[in-house]
Amino acid sequence: MDIRTDHGPAAPPAVEHAGAAPGKHDPAPPRRTPCLPLLLVLGAALPLSVVCGAAIGASGIGAGDVLRYLGAGLTGGTIAPADVPSYTIVWELRLPRAVLAAVVGAGLSVVGVAVQAMVRNALADPFVLGISSGAAVGANAVLLFGTLGALGVWALSTAAFASALLAMALVYAIARTAHGLTPLRLVLTGTALHYGFSAVTTFMVFAAERGESARSAMMWLLGSLGGATWAAVPIAAGAVLAALLHLTLSAGRLNALAMGDETAAALGVDAGRLRRELFLVTAAATGAIVAVSGAIGFVGLMVPHAVRMLVGADHRRVLAVAPLAGAVLLVWVDILSRIALAPAELPVGVLTAVIGVPCFVLLMRRRGSAIGGR
């Protein structure tokens, strides 16, 4: 017997029932900032911020001069011999630093977005996988004991990147199971190894007992753009752009992954494979970023959330806005870190927190629904 034909009265046609009284008690829809104007504003703000980064600093060089130097540097023009010291400050010190700040800020933000989706945890950041503290071990070996001295100025970033890759291989090998990488195991393994690596680093600082190098080790752990040179820019920028490209092309799959592995599978997304891809991409980008700037905290945790509060959770929008927002933020934070206590320099990680926390609390209170629903 066909049972479905004789249950008519028990199950009314769906639409008729469901269409009743639409939206009677609906709370206001989440307030969202339109994406395009936001992108335009940030897109215009970024080059302006970088120019400001080149113009603002402890030694007072006039804005007109700065623009002239930048013009000369970009077009290959000439400057008077008397201008050479100022030109060097603007073109060789401040500008690469501002550009690197933009690259690092953008990189930390997109990696933060990806890691949060990968481990499906709002508390995750680029450093939760233990990669950065792994990099710190290598970096501090150079700073404190002069390891890899033969590589000269490249010793620090090479050691940091190499030990980041080692840390990545270790985390992957430990977290991996027959069923692939699960979010919780990734976070637990990363966190556990983070403590392990930090202990090694702390012990090295303790054992070195050399005042100034311990200070630079500290600076590196807190993150700093003080060592920025043009040479560091292409490597970091290449790694960040590659990660951004991969993540942008995976934005739809990231949405599915954020809903859960089961849902992802039902939507035709192989969650295990995507998580492996994300692990490699984010770990490599994190390694490249910390190799040039140390472990700058807060940006990779909070920029993704702030952007989600503004434009919603759809990764196609988040991944467009987050790198620009992170870049602008870090350029300005770096400017402040140079002038706040000039001529001394504040660790940039201290300022990211000082500025970021109140902004974030303000946003969260105004648009709370984006964090954990109601």
Binding site: P22, P29, A256, A258, A265, A266
Partner: protein, 264 residues
């Protein structure tokens, strides 16, 4: 589209979750899987929406091997409402439904006018058009389930897989969900806890116990007191629904076997 599960076995970490299960759902049929918790219903369904690969056996869609298809090809034929807690990411209802278009989009996941139209139509079909701008996490359980059905419909599948879709819903919402699913015209494979709902709504029932099928057929034939005692460990009385005449069940505990008194 017809689905054939052919001699599927699932072994995970040495445990046999599904053992040599063969079942079929014909085009447009609503087929229910019932069985106690842990009997293997979910594992079998996970194979159908490809969260799990059968250790042995084949699943065929109109004769084609499902697991030989690319994940995208599979997802254009089979949509699912898995049993899964929602994450902490605050997608809107419209964004949630739009994910259903993912298997139809290229690598850049660009949204076309057709995608938008499919999503609007799917939301309207489940009567949730007015929820489009709401945050998914702010919805009630019944609303969420409706939106997830809309996502599945936007996927334009031929087969719909549901794992306990009525869990945690009030009775009106439960009837709503089953009416929506039944009226979808798709081939439906669903696990159900509530045997009375299963009896009314399913064309065909498969009873699963310890990873094996122990009975199958139209609900009225399958849901016998003897089987319910054996599989679910309950005493069941069959009554007729006064309007539809469908078999409904009333339950009691089985008489507890009297143990010999322990020596004192």
């Amino acid at each position: 589209m017809r689905i054939d599960v052919d001699a599927v076995t699932v072994t995970v970490a040495g445990a046999r979750l599904v053992e040599d299960i063969t079942l079929a759902a014909d085009s447009g049929q609503l087929v229910g899987l019932v069985g106690p918790n842990g009997s293997g219903k979910s594992s079998l369904l996970r194979c159908v929406y490809r969260a799990l690969r059968p250790t042995a056996g084949v699943i065929r869609l109109d004769g084609e091997d499902l697991h030989a298809m690319s994940p995208g090809e599979g997802a254009r034929r089979v949509a699912a409402l898995p049993q899964e807690t929602v994450g902490e990411f605050d997608f809107t209802v419209a964004e949630t439904v739009a994910m259903g278009r993912l298997p139809h989009q290229g690598v850049t996941a660009r949204t076309t006018e057709r995608d938008r139209a499919e999503c609007r139509a799917a939301l309207a079909r489940v009567g949730a058009g007015h929820l489009a701008d709401r945050g998914f996490l702010t919805l009630s359980g019944g609303e969420r389930q409706r939106v997830l059905i809309a996502r599945a419909l936007a996927q334009r599948p031929r087969i719909l897989v549901l794992d306990e879709p009525t869990n945690h819903l009030d009775i009106a919402q439960q009837l709503d969900v089953l009416a929506l699913v039944g009226g979808s015209g798709l081939t439906v494979l669903t696990a159900l806890h509530d045997l009375n709902l299963a009896s009314v709504h399913c064309d065909l029932l498969y009873v699963i116990d310890h990873g094996r099928i122990v009975a199958s057929g139209p609900p009225a034939q399958v849901l016998t007191p003897a089987l319910l005692a054996e599989v679910f460990g309950v005493r069941a009385h069959r009554v007729r629904h006064p309007e539809s005449g469908a078999v409904q069940l009333l339950f009691d505990r089985l008489p507890v076997p009297v143990c010999p008194a322990a020596p004192s």
